[in-house]
């Protein structure tokens, strides 16, 4: 493999691994903030215990999200030096702003939240987890505005042999970045909702701390129902954005080979890439694809054959990823709806099979997030900045294949180890359930005695 393929693989591994932790951070910080706010408002100790229990799981996940995020900032320069030189004038800004606006807030207030139980007022303590949560979303916004620029470059001119920013406003209001932001953040909320429902289901199946986990489940079910609906709607809007800016990605997502007006949507399809056709096409919804892609049943949708082969993304990976993401998205709506209905009636314990399904559903939103990024990034190929710079021209010139093999092996070993530690700690903490009373208060009071 050459440096380009190796660097792509390394970016996929490191970004994909980072994105195991990010969605849960986004969603669970918000849920924990709700819980603590309820505690502050009602004074009900159960909500304090909820804050502590889910907060501990949040912190384990948060730590890994932070450390794996550093890699990405390093990697643009290490592996993609030509890219960084060519677009740094416009792409570097959102990254630097992300650090200044979001990372500082997140890292400072998480310290306050972890250690500040007895040092600051209850309200200020609850406010600090809100700030952490808002900062996490703010960080997502700036990184997705950066990524949105790679998907739909705006606000620049080619000058001095590079892309130079001429319109910061265009960068900040890039519709691609914003629609992606909503879709991604909401997808993170769904991860957290299913995470909380799944772990609660585990304990409800064991009849452990029933009122605690019913309350947790119910809160997560409401959150899950709202967010899985919104993630679907935002996905629909995002699809329109994709079809207008990146016709090749859309064609690959849907495995559409021939340009058509009023294109139908095939519920069942399977691409035959070699022969540039689909080996299976069944259950067609007339005009479905045009409607989906442009919100207009008669719109023309470009097929892959309209583009030279070297400008098409890998069709199979893009198609399968998109299909599984969409199918999972629908499953989440269905499961959340059932979960919400059962939780509202308060009859969860009487449906052990459903609880089991919810337990085993924990990994599914993670999977949906990962395949979503495959659609976004693999579907953009062969471009690193759509229509502007090819991935193959973006890689570092000074780096040798051996160096990348070495770092890739290093990342795989280190991340493999971190994954084991993370799963071990999360499972153990989740299984153990909440502590009796609220021992952390006792503990911190004791430390506070100094």
């Amino acid at each position: 493999m050459d440096v380009v393929m190796l660097s792509r693989l390394q970016f996929a591994v490191t970004a994909g691994f980072h994105f195991i932790f990010v969605p849960l951070t986004l969603g669970l910080s918000l849920l924990v903030a709700f819980m603590e706010t309820k505690y502050v408002r009602t004074g009900d100790e159960m909500y304090l215990r909820m804050t502590k229990f889910w907060g501990k799981l949040f912190l384990i996940n948060f730590a890994l999200g932070i450390v794996t995020g550093i890699t990405l900032e390093f990697q643009f320069g290490m592996n993609w030096a030509e890219y960084s030189k060519y677009v740094g004038d416009i792409f570097g800004a959102p990254l630097a702003i992300e650090a200044t606006l979001a990372f500082f807030l997140e890292s400072t207030f998480i310290g306050l939240w972890i250690f500040g139980w007895d040092k600051i007022s209850k309200k200020l303590h609850a406010a600090s987890i809100w700030i952490v949560s808002i900062a996490a979303s703010l960080s997502a916004l700036w990184i997705l505005l950066a990524n949105g620029w790679m998907q739909k470059p705006v606000g620049y001119v080619l000058r001095n042999g590079r892309a130079e920013m001429v319109d910061f406003g265009a960068l900040v209001t890039n519709s691609y970045g914003w629609s992606k932001f909503f879709h991604t953040v909401l997808a993170g909320y769904v991860v957290a909702a299913f995470f909380v429902m799944g772990i609660s289901a585990y304990h409800l199946l064991r009849r452990n701390e029933i009122s605690f986990f019913k309350a947790s489940f119910r809160m997560a079910a409401t959150f899950g129902l709202v967010t899985s609906l919104l993630v679907f709607i935002s996905g629909d809007f995002h699809a329109v954005e994709v079809s207008t800016t990146q016709p090749t990605k859309l064609a690959a997502m849907e495995a559409l080979w021939d340009t058509q007006r009023g294109a139908p949507y095939n519920l069942l399809a399977f691409p035959d890439v070699e022969n540039e056709r689909n080996s299976v096409e069944a259950i067609s919804i007339p005009k479905g694809l045009s409607l989906l892609a442009y919100h207009d049943g008669n719109a023309e949708v470009k097929g892959l054959k309209d583009f030279p082969k070297e400008l098409r993304p890998p069709v199979m990976a893009t198609f399968l990823s998109f299909r599984s993401m969409a199918a999972l998205g629908m499953l989440f709506m269905l499961l959340s709806l059932i979960a919400w209905l059962l939780a509202r009636k308060g009859v969860l314990e009487s449906y052990p099979l459903f609880l089991k399904i919810m337990l085993f559903a924990i990994p599914l939103p993670y999977l949906a997030n990962q395949v979503g990024w495959i659609v976004a990034e693999v579907g953009r190929q062969p471009w690193i900045v759509y229509g502007l710079l090819k991935t193959s021209d973006a890689v570092s010139k000074a780096v040798t294949p051996m160096q990348v093999i070495g770092s890739l092996v290093g990342f795989t070993l280190l991340y493999g180890f971190l994954a084991i530690v993370d799963i071990y700690l999360l499972t153990k903490t989740a299984r153990k359930g909440p502590e009796d009373e609220s021992p952390i208060v006792v503990k911190t009071n004791k430390i506070a005695g100094n």
């Binding site: 390093f74 650090a99 500082f104 890292s107 306050l112 570092s396 430390i447 100094n450």
Partner: protein, 341 residues
């Protein structure tokens, strides 16, 4: 003033503040196992940086992000040229973050002891490697029209290593004073005792560094050209002496403040010497990366200046407040066994 110069100053400030803040975290990491005689003491030591270390590290990420945004060519070439060295720093930072945060997430002496070892190594390596990297930047990297002609081993030259050792000793001193200031009783005494002792090798290495700099780098030429600038290295020397004077008297907080001034003025001395280079070429000055030939467009720099001038003071304000919230000293005897962070 030209935006490039403003950003050069900001770049220097970001690095200097990073070294001043994360410097004691790194020192604490290197010292935890040696100064902490039992579980409670080791818990107390790590607790002194618990609420702040993450916020301190963000100064590094911001320095990196600022390099990308303001001097993209330097960012691109520096990171790809120093690939393996940066990878080692990166791995260390990852392991360090995980060690601090996960050490207390599970009961058991073995679990803790292993994370403490990981914490030790992952604090030592960045301290050394940041020194090595800056030593090599001061000397210049072997780069010309054909790119870069060095590798990890050429970085480990005498001057690079000397700077690395200088950084390690600076951070050991800084971390020991921090532990001295932030804890009570025996532990605090032991930390200040260590600071008093490590000051001697630090002084020797600092003197060697100043002398070697004369022969290995061009850093002094800016000072000779504008002698008033000598005030910065002079401040560094005075602050270094101040550390010993105050530490010997037991005025640990003042000694720590002197240590902060030392780190800031050492960084500024180096960066003033570099100007207008960000990375000089050691073989062909035409290929030096300067703030003028590697910067972003004036428009981008203007936007980023606005962002920095508004938000950096806000960051400093809430970080300072955070330090104030956690100003109380930590007594190892009151760290509940097995519950320590």
């Amino acid at each position: 003033m030209e935006f490039q110069i403003i950003w050069f100053i900001l770049w220097a400030v970001l690095w200097a503040v990073y070294f001043m803040l994360d410097g004691f975290d790194l020192g604490v990491g290197m010292l935890q196992k040696f100064l902490g005689r039992n579980e409670a003491e080791r818990g107390a030591i790590i607790r002194t940086i618990g609420p702040v270390w993450d916020g301190n590290e963000v100064w590094l990420l911001t320095a990196g992000g600022a390099t990308f945004a303001a001097f993209p060519t330097t960012y691109a070439l520096m990171f790809s040229y120093l690939y393996t060295a940066l990878l080692l720093i990166l791995f260390s930072l990852i392991v360090r973050g995980v060690s601090v945060e996960l050490r207390g997430k599970e009961e058991g002496a073995t679990w803790r002891s292993r994370w403490e070892t990981a914490f030790l190594i992952s604090s030592f390596l960045p301290a050394l490697l940041f020194g090595v990297a800056f030593g090599n930047i001061f000397q210049g990297l072997p780069m010309d029209a054909d790119g870069y002609h060095g590798n990890l081993f050429t970085l480990l030259n005498p001057y690079g290593l000397l700077t690395g050792i200088f950084f390690v000793l600076l951070f050991l001193m800084h971390g020991a004073l921090w532990i001295g200031v932030k804890t009570t009783g025996d532990l605090s005494k032991r930390a200040s005792g260590f600071a008093n002792k490590v000051w001697y090798p630090l002084l020797v290495v600092a003197v060697l560094f100043l002398i070697h700099t004369k022969f290995a780098t061009n850093l002094y030429s800016n000072f000779v050209g504008t002698p008033v600038l000598f005030v910065m290295p002079l401040l560094a020397v005075l602050a270094l002496l101040g550390i010993k004077i105050f530490a010997a008297k037991g005025a640990l907080l003042t000694a720590f403040a002197s240590s902060c001034v030392t780190i800031l003025s050492v960084t500024f001395t180096g960066v003033i010497g570099l100007f207008p280079n960000l990375i000089p070429s050691s073989i062909d000055p035409r290929y030096s990366l300067t703030i003028f030939n590697s910067s972003s467009s004036p428009y981008t720099l203007k936007i980023m200046t606005g962002v920095a001038l508004v938000f950096v003071p806000i960051v400093i304000a809430y970080q300072a407040w955070n330090y104030r919230v956690f100003r109380k000293k930590i007594d190892p005897n009151e760290m509940e066994q097995g519950k320590a962070y």
